[in-house]
């Protein structure tokens, strides 16, 4: 038999389902505060609404439905762990700066940790393996990137030293056609301009005459850039060399000159 309170109980059911317009929600919420019968009805029906959500889990993530991507968990946990580590660092800083704050640590509510306990049995190692693999891959990429950065830094440092040497006012300069040989301290450079590109399969090669030597020894091979400029640091010690020559040689260089040198520069 219907009583006068039934319309309210119907509203409570619709409220529990979340199908009331916002304005009516407020009215029912206010009524619930003062009506034990309706609160009991809400407590009775609310689990049934939650159960409807489990129907979605059955439909959408069951055997015939799409599975939740394991990458999603990896993505979420990556952010969580990054956040956890940054929070730890921030807490350490705060502890150092403000001892009083250190006595009020941010905590995850105990009931959330308790709720997590419900799910511990479901913990899968699959995602951990996935995360570890991802971590190793990231570490490898990081190491490769670091190597590149180091190589670039070394190259830039060498170029910086070379430019400083070439522009130094106390460098010794030995002119040749379209360029010069520059010695600064123990370092030795070839600085050329308007060099034509060598024929296909050929490169330029530097030669040096050691002090007291009777024949030139092979040094580095090089190519000019598109503007015909070549600035090359020779590995030999400038103080141990009496002459520098340049010739065109097969790609890869030669043990002895195979063509007439385009430049022969004695270092006096």
């Amino acid at each position: 038999m219907m009583n006068s309170h039934d319309p309210f109980l119907d509203d409570v059911a619709v409220y529990a389902l979340g199908a009331l317009p916002p304005a009516e929600e407020g009215r029912v919420r206010a009524h619930l505060r003062g009506c034990a019968e309706c609160r009991a009805e809400y407590a009775l029906l609310n689990p049934a609404v939650t159960a409807v959500a489990y129907d979605a889990e059955a439909c959408k993530t069951g055997e015939n439905g799409p599975q939740v991507s394991s990458l999603l968990k990896a993505r979420i946990m990556r952010e969580v762990r990054a956040s956890a580590s940054s929070t730890t660092r921030a807490a350490e800083s705060a502890r150092t700066a403000d001892p009083a704050r250190a006595r009020r640590p941010i905590v995850w509510p105990a009931y959330l940790v308790a709720a997590a306990c419900f799910a511990f049995a479901l913990i899968s190692t699959t995602s951990n393996i996935l995360l570890m693999g991802e971590l190793r891959q990231t570490q490898t990429q990081l190491a490769t990137t670091q190597d590149r950065v180091d190589a670039t830094a070394r190259r830039l440092a060498n170029e910086h030293v070379m430019l400083a040497d070439l522009m130094s006012t106390d460098a010794k300069r030995y002119a040749t056609n379209d360029g010069e040989i520059v010695a600064h301290g123990d370092r030795l450079y070839i600085a050329m301009h308007d060099m034509p590109m060598p024929p296909r399969g050929k490169v330029y090669q530097a030669w040096t005459m050691p002090k007291g030597g009777k024949a030139v020894v092979p040094s580095v091979t090089f190519m000019p850039d598109r503007q015909g400029v070549a600035m090359v640091a020779l590995p030999e010690n400038a103080s141990a060399v009496t002459m520098v020559a340049v010739s065109v040689e097969p790609d890869g260089g030669s043990k002895a000159p195979t063509s007439k040198p385009i430049a022969v520069v004695p270092l006096n």
Binding site: D10, L17, V49, D55, A56, C59, R81, Y111, A119, L122
Partner: protein, 165 residues
């Protein structure tokens, strides 16, 4: 300190439920994953939003609200805030219900008469108000409300039987 391991256990226990609800409402896997991610990350960053009670009921409601916000805005990149903490009542029966096998729940829902199951599904998954249901179906508003209540009662009874079985 927040406990990443405890959070991971929560994710393992409830992500299928969250994703399932979001996917049922949004019907798009990418958007459902986005909602799942935002719900769990918001929980991680603001655990105080959950003020105790039944965690499953709370996270279902949060997921539903966020998914419906997206449907209503028609913009999948919306970033609406989660609702303020909403305490869900927690009784022994509710805990038991929250840990029912999803397949049992599905069977229970299937047992409901069509005229009761349909408004419940429309209200929950489509975010349709009872007034809109009445307009769409031509059924009087009072009848819609009564059917919803009757359906939820039957569902509760069926589930109680499943829990005690």
């Amino acid at each position: 300190m927040r406990d990443a391991a405890a959070f991971e256990a929560l994710y393992d226990g409830f992500h299928r439920l969250v994703y399932g609800v979001a996917l049922r409402i949004l019907n798009e896997t990418g958007a459902a994953e986005d909602v799942t991610q935002s719900v769990f990350l918001k929980l991680w960053s603001s655990p105080g939003l959950f003020q105790g009670g039944n965690f499953a009921a709370w996270i279902v409601r949060v997921t539903r609200n966020r998914s419906l916000d997206i449907v209503r805005s028609k913009a999948f990149n919306t970033d609406s805030e989660l609702p303020e903490g909403l305490t869900e009542s927690q009784g022994l029966e509710e805990i038991a219900l929250a840990h029912l096998e999803a397949s049992r729940v599905r069977a229970a829902l299937a047992q409901l008469p069509e005229d009761q199951r349909k408004p419940i599904e429309m209200g929950f998954f489509e975010g349709v108000t009872h007034e809109e249901m009445a307009r769409r179906t031509g059924v009087p508003l009072g009848t819609i409300k009564t059917r919803i209540r009757s359906g939820l009662h039957k569902l509760r009874m069926v589930l109680d039987g499943a829990v005690t079985a």
